[in-house]
């Protein structure tokens, strides 16, 4: 596998919940800019934990420890302020979480209002329209922008959350099983959207759905019991995995 222009790099990254249990063990991998990279593995393998570490979500929970390095454009984000890092590395969660007290319009702008950034009316309108168009939601909601985001369907809510993350113009977008709570049609929409987005943003997506990884990603990681077992071009991994455990997982004998 060839890396031309990596943006994000894990260097011997470890995540532990307590002294005894290490959820992610010495993962080293570099993520290529403007591609989609999938992380697969059976549940409990540490894939979500690794992803959340890249957004410094662990900083919210005092019992979680991250060691090693995670580099963004060569800078170690583990020694940076979380609020700074999270603006550059956005995140979309498993369950869509539109803020229930905010309208659709305000949800898209939530990152700005949370961070206390004042925008002019025209800037706000521009961002909302652009981001909602980016996630193909504009035509569906342009007449109900003042309604609460929670009125939307699950798939629409998830697209709203992606729009909300994109509004902050992140360089990397982390997605933690973004379609696992959605029906197949909504899933298809989101997958199309992700493929569309890779020209603007680097996407790292956790999925337990092998089909999904195969459909959208150009590179894939396979994690097992906290180890990064294999990391390769998706095509190569699915056709000819090097590790026995990867083969077992991909052929459905494990997981």
């Amino acid at each position: 596998m060839e890396l031309v222009n990596p943006i994000l790099e894990f260097k011997k990254t470890c995540v532990s919940y307590s002294k005894q249990t290490m959820a992610v063990k010495y993962v080293s991998a570099a993520i290529e800019r403007n591609t989609i990279t999938a992380i697969m593995g059976p549940s409990g393998c540490g894939k979500s934990t690794l992803l959340r570490a890249a957004n410094l979500m662990h900083a919210l929970y005092p019992n979680i420890r991250v060691d090693g390095e995670i580099l963004l454009n060569g800078q170690n984000i583990l020694s940076m302020e979380p609020i700074e890092v999270r603006r550059k590395i956005g995140m979309v969660f498993q369950r869509p979480t539109p803020f229930p007290t905010m309208s659709i319009y305000d949800n898209v702008l939530a990152g700005y209002s949370l961070n206390g950034i004042r925008l002019s009316k025209s800037e706000r309108n521009e961002i909302v329209e652009k981001c909602l168009r980016n996630v193909a939601l504009w035509d569906e909601v342009k007449d109900v922008l003042n309604k609460k985001g929670t009125f939307l369907s699950g798939g629409q809510q998830q697209r709203l959350c992606i729009a909300r993350a994109l509004a902050m113009k992140p360089e990397v977008l982390l997605m933690d099983e973004p379609t696992s709570a959605l029906d197949p049609i909504a899933t298809k929409h989101i997958e199309d959207l992700i493929l569309e987005l890779q020209k603007d943003v680097t996407i790292l997506i956790v999925t337990h759905n092998m089909g999904q990884a195969k459909r959208i990603s150009s590179r894939s990681m396979f994690m097992y019991l906290g180890d990064l077992v294999e990391y390769d071009d998706t095509e190569k991994m699915f056709s000819n995995p090097t590790d026995e455990r990867t083969r077992a997982y991909l052929t459905g004998k494990m997981g």
Partner: protein, 285 residues
């Protein structure tokens, strides 16, 4: 025991509650009637005369309604800067940790202290301070009573608010953090709006408590029967005038005191019902 008999027992026990409540309203209304008839209902409420010279008896509830409103409002005002931090401490910053358990035990114990002991403390400790600071000459005042009252309602407001703050879903908060917000920003823009109606209703219930608090206020408010002309003036609340004068009252005065009791009962009942209904709504959403 047969099933039928058991069901009847349960039903009778349940009937007792509406009977007691109906009895309370009936007794208050019939005994307050004499006063309302003599002075007129509206006149009674809006009159500020309280004169028991025989032959020229004049009773009006306004000074005590105003006194109650002032003490309650001030108590609420003084309570917020403490109860809200306690709620955030227990429900957000240190949620589920031993320090939070200690603080909630402390507030539980505050709620357990009998009101007469709060009154003593206010009288023997706070009142001299108020006097030394030259805020009010005798130390007893609306302000003194409100300050102690505010301590008494902190536990009620804080523990319920904390419950609603705890219920704000973690994924919402993580969603906000992932956009680069600080904890303060998450609390201000996500936690407060989401838990808002629940927090608000917990303050309504705290108001309900403050309205009827008797002994503390009686011991600290100064017990004068005119409309207080400021927060450092003396006065009387509806509960304190009853506590003060019920013992030696009869005839029209007794009826007037019971009429004040009826008004207090109705105000508290309305406030408590609004609070309970809001809490139920907030819990469902």
């Amino acid at each position: 025991m047969s099933d039928k008999l058991f069901r009847i027992f349960l039903f009778i026990a349940a009937c007792l509650i509406p009977i007691i409540c109906g009895g309370i309203i009936y007794a208050l209304v019939t005994d307050a009637y004499e006063s309302f008839e003599h002075f007129g209902f509206l006149n009674f409420i809006f009159s500020s005369e309280w004169d028991y010279t025989e032959g020229n008896e004049q009773y009006g509830a306004l000074p005590f309604i105003v006194g109650t409103m002032m003490t309650t409002f001030l108590a609420l005002l003084f309570c917020i800067p403490f109860s809200l931090p306690v709620a955030l401490f227990v429900g957000e910053y240190f949620k589920g940790t031993p320090v939070a358990a200690i603080l909630s035990t402390v507030t539980d114990l505050l709620a357990g202290i009998p009101s007469i002991i709060y009154g003593l403390w206010g009288f023997f400790t706070l009142r001299p301070i108020i006097m030394a600071l030259d805020i009010s000459p005798e130390g007893s005042s609306i302000l003194t009573a409100s300050m102690v009252l505010s301590i008494m309602i902190i536990p009620y407001a804080a523990s319920l608010s904390a419950e609603f703050i705890k219920m704000v879903p973690a994924d919402l908060k993580e969603g906000a953090y992932s956009l680069g917000a600080t904890r303060f920003e998450v609390i201000r823009k996500i936690v407060f709006p989401v838990a808002g109606s629940g927090i608000f209703s917990s303050y309504i219930l705290a108001i309900g408590r403050a309205l009827g608090e008797t002994m503390t206020v009686t011991m600290l408010i100064g017990n004068t029967n005119q409309i207080p002309d400021g927060i450092t003036a003396t006065g009387n609340s509806m509960a304190s005038i009853i506590a003060n004068q019920f013992g030696e009252a009869d005839g029209l005065k007794l009826s007037s005191l019971i009429a004040i009791g009826l008004i207090l009962f109705l105000i508290t009942a309305v406030i408590n019902m609004i609070g309970k209904i809001m809490i139920k709504r907030a819990r469902i959403s």
